[in-house]
């Protein structure tokens, strides 16, 4: 579980460039909830991870609006 969490955390940290904290709407705090969620979070983390890989290799465009489905 710890290794799994480490991987998710590392992938999230590497996935985006540095940003300016004063603009932050709490995005980092939302993502952290997936890392800390334990067993309940495994499925969500994997999906999120898979989604990010697809964006990274250009198979997917990032979601831009609240209602847009992936």
């Amino acid at each position: 579980m710890i290794i799994f969490r480490f991987l998710v955390a590392a992938s999230l940290l590497l996935a985006a460039g540095p940003a300016f904290a004063y603009l932050d709407p709490g995005t980092g705090s939302m993502l952290l909830q997936v890392i800390l969620g334990g067993i309940a979070a495994v499925g969500v983390a994997l999906k999120l991870f898979w989604y990010k890989i697809r964006i990274a290799i250009g198979l997917k465009k990032p979601a831009a609006t609240e209602d847009e489905t992936v």
Binding site: L13, G17, T27, L31, L32, G37, A40, V44, K47, L48
Partner: protein, 471 residues
């Protein structure tokens, strides 16, 4: 019609506003908030928390019951009346144990709400008040329907307003009150990251909530991605919120502060006057408070709270305050454990009291604006104010006279060893510190009703009333 005032601190939530008049607290709410209130009332936990006194009593007013002007009535879809909190207090006046109990209440409410399809949209200790030594949640419009796939929206605020202050106190012995008093939104993640050093990362909760959250916040702060919608699509669900809230609860319960280095934590055990003087002082204070008819008493420099307890036998509401955090913490724990009613414990330095601040300097107010006392106790206090805090004696008495109609004050003479200790390594420039000067000053502002000299000959008690005040 009673004149109602808008509560200056209630502007942040666009879905409601508080109006006060005398003992009445009325909240105007939007159509949306009104609908959410209906859903809240239909839950099981609402009744349970009301019954245990952990939620403020609230009642929807019928249109003809609303005592507000027509233009205010037009602004809102409905009006909810709340029962009044005797003395409103703020987290920067609380002790560690009070902030921790408020945190647990917040988490318990999130858990109960999530289980029934609601959530709390924020997590601020300003939504919690203390009555009879127990936390009560007062912000009913915080409850709203949990949107599908939404994360715990109050998580970050919970960290900045509850968790980081508690961890700083428990792990590093840094008093959180000055930090919360200088920053209305609490301790920002970026600040917490710097306050906790490398070694602290090995303490429970610091690595994920401070370090990792800090790093993720920096990485994703200005992200153009819609993380909320990504999370929803990835199947984020309420089980995940529950898991996080329950873990947080365990973490908060494990945080403990033992209060090293407290000067006054056990003052009563070695006070420097005899047992018979002690009894004389107790009966003098008890009799004067009873005769004063005062219902709202402040005990400034309450120490162990012995005289607060004596006062609460007659007064409905006693605020026991001291600048020593651990002394107040011990009193709070005692009040909780023994179920003592009518006393609110606050960490408060009379020489540097809570200011008017926040938006327009009126979002948070000084204590006497929130609850003016009828009687102030200042026992074994004046030497600290005049000699340690360097406030001129006449200044202090005139401030007391501005604050309250009645006063019970103790003079500790220069030959008392507590005063000698204060002066030992100081240049004695306190020429105004004398019994004669005090009596003159008291007579300028009050009428001395009763006085007592203790047998030691070093301590003198005065009960004073303003001319014209009821005795």
């Amino acid at each position: 019609m009673q004149a109602f005032e808008v509560e200056a601190g209630s502007f942040r939530d666009r879905d409601g506003r508080i109006y006060t008049s005398g003992d009445r607290i009325i909240r105007g709410v939007s159509a949306r908030a009104l609908e959410e209130f209906g859903k809240l009332q239909a839950t099981r936990f609402y009744g349970q928390f009301l019954e245990s006194g952990r939620l403020v009593q609230s009642r929807l007013l019928a249109a003809e019951e609303v005592p507000l002007s027509a233009d205010i009535q037009e602004q809102w879809a409905g009006f909810i009346e709340h029962s009044r909190i005797p003395v409103v207090s703020y987290p920067y006046e609380w002790t560690f144990g009070m902030l921790r109990d408020a945190a647990i209440l917040q988490l318990d409410l999130v858990e109960a709400a999530i289980l029934e399809g609601l959530t709390l949209k924020d997590a601020t200790p300003y939504n919690v008040q203390f009555v009879d030594g127990r936390p009560v949640f007062i912000d009913i419009p915080s409850f709203e329907t949990l949107p599908a796939g939404a994360p715990w929206s109050g998580y970050r605020q919970f960290c900045e307003m509850f968790l980081f202050p508690l961890m700083l106190q428990a792990y590093k012995g840094i008093h959180f009150q000055p930090l919360l008093r200088s920053s209305i939104d609490g301790i920002a993640i970026q600040t917490a990251e710097k306050l906790f050093g490398f070694r602290d990362r090995f303490r429970k909760g610091v690595f994920p909530h401070v370090w990792l959250q800090g790093k993720l916040t920096n990485r994703y702060g200005a992200s153009s991605q819609n993380v909320r919608s990504e999370l929803k699509s990835a199947g984020f669900n309420k089980e995940l919120i529950l898991a996080n809230v329950r873990k947080m609860r365990k973490l908060v319960l494990k945080l403990n502060w033992r209060g090293d280095g407290s000067e006054w934590g056990s003052y009563e055990e070695f006070h420097n006057y005899s047992e018979s003087d002690h009894l004389l002082k107790e009966s003098f204070v008890g009799e004067c408070v009873a005769a004063s008819g005062a219902q709202r008493v402040w005990d400034i420099g309450c120490n162990t709270g012995q005289f607060s307890k004596i006062s609460s036998a007659n007064a409905a509401s006693v605020v026991a305050m001291d600048l020593d955090h651990f002394a107040v913490e011990r009193l709070y724990r005692e009040i909780r454990a023994e179920g003592i009613k009518g006393i609110l414990t606050l960490v408060q330095n009379v020489a540097d009291p809570s200011p008017n601040w926040g938006w327009r300097n009126s979002e948070r107010t000084e204590l006497r604006v929130r609850a003016r006392p009828d009687l102030v106790l200042g026992l074994a206090l004046i030497h600290h104010v005049v000699i340690s805090a360097n406030i001129p004696l006449e200044e202090f008495i005139s401030w007391l006279a501005e604050t309250s109609d009645q006063l019970i004050i103790e003079y500790v003479s220069r030959s008392d060893d507590k005063v000698e200790a204060l002066l030992r390594n100081k240049e004695d420039k306190y020429t105004d510190y004398s019994r004669q000067n005090l009596e003159n000053s008291l007579q300028r502002h009050f009428r001395i009703e009763r006085q007592l000299s203790l047998e030691s000959g070093n301590r003198f008690l005065y009960w004073c009333c303003k001319p014209g005040s009821v005795v």
